[in-house]
Symmetry: C2
Amino acid sequence: MVSSEALAERAGTTGAQVRKDLSSFGSFGTRGRGYGVDPLHARIREILGLTRPWQVALVGAGRIGSALHAYPHFRDRGFRIVAILDMDPAKIGGAWEGTPIRDVGELEAVVGAESVEIVILAVPASAAQPLAERAAAAGVRGILNFAPVRLRLPEGVEVNNVNLAVELEALSHALSLEDARR
Amino acid sequence: MVSSEALAERAGTTGAQVRKDLSSFGSFGTRGRGYGVDPLHARIREILGLTRPWQVALVGAGRIGSALHAYPHFRDRGFRIVAILDMDPAKIGGAWEGTPIRDVGELEAVVGAESVEIVILAVPASAAQPLAERAAAAGVRGILNFAPVRLRLPEGVEVNNVNLAVELEALSHALSLEDARR
DNA sequence: GCCAGCTTGTGAAAAACTTCACAAGAAAGG
DNA sequence: CCTTTCTTGTGAAGTTTTTCACAAGCTGGC
């Protein structure tokens, strides 16, 4: 068992916050005892939609793509990278750990054939928008976008942006504030 | 010139929000016209602390480290990766684009010699906490942490976490919600 | 020089989120 | 079986953030 307070300490928040958040998905704690770790874990996996695997295509076989492909926590949580696409002829025809790198021109075909629901976009900023549009048109439901552009896509396509420069800039801002306070 | 509404559209928010946010740093728009692009850009760089370069050490020369080192937008914004550290003897002694890869045992020495203020931590989860502590003790002020652990550090050290698995999980959650609505 | 048309900056209102605080319930020990 | 101890779940209070709405102010044209 684990208490809301113990969870809060690990997550960097308060017990009340943890309880409020969890209670919005139903009440599965036990008063006086806390939350059972296994049931809680199972429930969170359910809430996050991790109880079934997701078919993922990796678009962009550059350095970021390479890092993401090797990232063990994706596979752990049921994200299956079923295809890798790139536009560089030097890379097309190669393979990463058995998964072939295919021509990005085949995007639509791959999405259809492999029932791809999520695309990880790890391409240069200039290539991102058209590729995202093609993926969306081909039926992809979610895009994890590493390109530093805000994608404009039709309603119904979920986009999650990761902008590495912004993360460093946030640090820079925080440190500058410190400096200014002195 | 650019209006708050135009900025808002690009950023995915509202004009009122943009104006409130900007006004908290002083008023540098012109009524009836909007904001001058160049002054606005300069002011934001100032606010983010990007008017001077930051000395950065990259700890972890794996795939993520490699992607980050090659990421052009860091250098663009004044983040100078002045040192690369790793624990793998096969990598130590090598170099990336002229920057030598050094033994992570030299962390403290490097931080001192190069006046490193920011560390990018791109190491496995198990190695992150001790390395973060060492960096903090050596005088590093900010850490950009890619390891999926919550670092516990003394007050005054800024930490910014990037958790790639969480980003995909957020997508998964959003798509599951859609499914549930049907 | 004045009027018309825009757009900022900002109080006030509304909404969202967090914290407080405590009744309700569960378990362990006697 | 009763009492003590602990921790959840949740209304209410408090705080923060966002939206609304409009006076203030700039610019261009006449």
